[in-house]
């Protein structure tokens, strides 16, 4: 458990928390990007360069932008009068706490059996590419189809009725 780990963890968790408790929606989105960045750092820290950069590219570069766009399009940036939390927030919080309790409990109970530190695996991007084209070609194709479908679907869902009927 190096210092770096704790730093990144602090950053990530702080970002996540902020993105969930802040009042202003846009602030939440920005905090979310902080959390994403933290996770990307985690990935780099785990010697998963490719995944880390992909994380930055996809989440910070695309998803976060999408989110802020959506916020502005839905005029969600101004905070509502009657609070940002739903009426049943307490129950929700309790449930989430329960989930964390169970997960943490499980982890802590299995911690002794977990493998210790291992030497970093040397993974080049080329290997990943080979794997994508070789062993994982079918998932790759399926994901391609899925993305296309999602693209079309998102466009159609968000499109205007006028355009739709035209």
């Amino acid at each position: 458990m190096s210092l770096v780990f704790y730093l990144i963890a602090a950053l990530t968790v702080a970002g996540g928390l902020a993105s969930m408790v802040l009042k202003n929606t846009v602030h939440c989105a920005l905090a979310l990007t902080v959390a994403f960045a933290g996770l990307a750092l985690f990935f780099l820290n785990l010697d998963a360069q490719f995944a880390g950069f992909a994380q930055i590219l996809v989440y910070i570069g695309a998803v976060a932008i999408l989110v802020v766009f959506a916020i502005l399009l839905t005029k969600g940036s101004e905070t509502p009068k009657d609070g940002v939390f739903s009426r049943t927030w307490l129950a929700g919080l309790a449930v989430a706490a329960a989930v964390f309790a169970v997960l943490g409990w499980a982890i802590l109970h299995t911690a002794p059996m977990l493998p210790g530190a291992t030497p970093a695996p040397a993974v080049t991007v080329e290997q990943i590419g080979q794997a994508l084209i070789g062993r994982y070609v079918l998932p790759l194709e399926i994901v391609a189809v899925l993305l296309t479908a999602a693209l079309i679907g998102a466009v159609i869902v968000a499109m205007h009725e006028k355009e739709g009927t035209k």
Partner: protein
């Protein structure tokens, strides 16, 4: 001697580092390199600004800056001092924190890109295996900074400018990526140094730069277009269209923050031209085999400045597009061409050597270009602008 001249900066760094204990040398070396980058490019920025103002002046039949120093050479310094000493105004209703963070983030991410650019033989800050991916990841995060700037300053012009900028950047980022993927396919690596190495061969004295292949040329053209749009340069400078929205997302910025935006824009320009140079123009390799004795970094920077000049030239020449034209162009013309170019590259790769592949690939590209352009022209309808953000 020549060899030393070529490697002079590397040697310099090694010499500096050698004073430290071995344990610190690695980190120190990185620090020195970073410091070098952070010093060199602002200097280049000053030069470029001067060049731009002079050059534009020439193109528009005026003198340009000519008061401060000979030929106004000291103009950038004067500007710098001015912007440093100006008052930093923050709108009352602005979101202070975000408003402050935006320019910083912009500049930082803009500088990050240089970390993986090989500026000369053995002159790269970190030679990442996924360098190109890293570059694009960084480029993607600048959009966020732009959005923060526009949104935080509570000003409809800023917001509109930011939205335009972000939409435009996202659209053209796709093009940017796809046009570079071709190079990756050919070089078989995401590492920029490897890509340069792959282009650093000569036949009959001519280099194997990717721009000298049909797909490479097409990809380079599209890359250039996308780069212009990414950096919000004319003719794609709607986000700062003075005539429409005062100064785009940095309307509400003044003093040093504004200078940061200015710097960020130029640095982004440098880095994106640097990437283009690396991908298509053979990076630091010499244009002719008999010129290889010239130090590699000279080549890199001269290519860089050349492309900057092209930027300036275009700004001096071309009128500004309209938002819907911009988007249609990106999604309906450039993107399909990029995809086609991928196919062409694959064809090229699998047809093996010989003149035939030259013919086939160029034929496909030219035909596609002509056909699409023709159809675009045929169904060109002059009408009211038809783009929409929010209802």
């Amino acid at each position: 001697m020549i060899r030393n001249l070529d490697q002079i900066f590397v040697l310099l760094q090694h010499w500096l580092v050698s004073f430290l204990a071995a344990a610190w040398q690695g980190a120190a070396g990185v620090l020195i390199n970073a410091a070098a980058i952070v010093c060199v490019f602002p200097a280049l920025f000053a030069v470029a600004v001067w060049l731009e103002r002079k050059g534009l002046g020439r193109m528009q039949n005026r003198l340009g800056p000519n008061r401060v120093g000979p030929y106004g050479l000291l103009q950038p310094i004067a500007d710098g001092i001015k912007s440093l000493t100006k008052e930093d105004i923050v709108p009352l209703s602005a979101d202070t924190v975000v408003h402050f963070l935006a320019p910083v983030l912009l500049v930082v991410t803009a500088f990050m890109g240089f970390a993986v650019l090989p500026m000369g033989r053995n002159m790269v800050l970190v030679d990442l295996d996924a360098g190109l991916l890293f570059y694009f990841a960084m480029g993607a995060s600048t959009e966020l900074a732009v959005f923060m700037a526009g949104w935080s300053s509570r000003n409809k012009y800023s917001l509109l400018g930011a939205m335009r900028a972000v939409a435009q950047m996202i659209s053209y980022e796709v093009v940017l990526l796809l046009s570079s993927v071709v190079v990756v396919m050919m070089a078989g690596s995401l590492s920029l140094t490897k890509i340069v190495e792959a282009q650093n061969h000569y036949t009959w004295g001519f280099p194997h730069w990717y721009i000298f292949t049909p797909w490479g040329l097409a990809a380079f053209v599209m890359y250039a277009i996308a780069a212009t749009a990414e950096t919000n340069r004319s003719p794609f400078d709607l986000p700062e269209g003075e005539s429409e929205l005062v100064a785009g997302y940095h309307t509400e910025y003044s003093g040093f923050k504004f200078a940061l935006f200015f710097l960020g824009e130029y640095v982004a320009m440098f880095s994106i031209s640097g990437l283009g140079t690396t991908l298509f123009l053979g990076g630091w390799s010499a244009p002719f085999s008999f010129l290889t004795w010239v130090p590699s970094w000279i080549w890199f920077f001269s290519k860089l400045m050349l492309s900057i000049f092209v930027f300036i030239w275009m700004r001096g020449t071309l009128p500004r597009l309209r938002q819907d034209q911009l988007m249609n162009f990106a999604w309906k013309f450039v993107l399909p061409m990029c995809l086609l170019n991928l196919m062409v590259a694959a064809v090229w790769r699998f047809m093996g050597d010989g003149w035939l592949r030259w013919f086939v690939c160029s034929a496909i590209l030219i035909l596609a270009y002509a056909g699409m352009g023709w159809s675009e022209l045929r169904k060109k309808h002059i009408g009211p602008r038809s783009y929409r953000y929010a209802e």
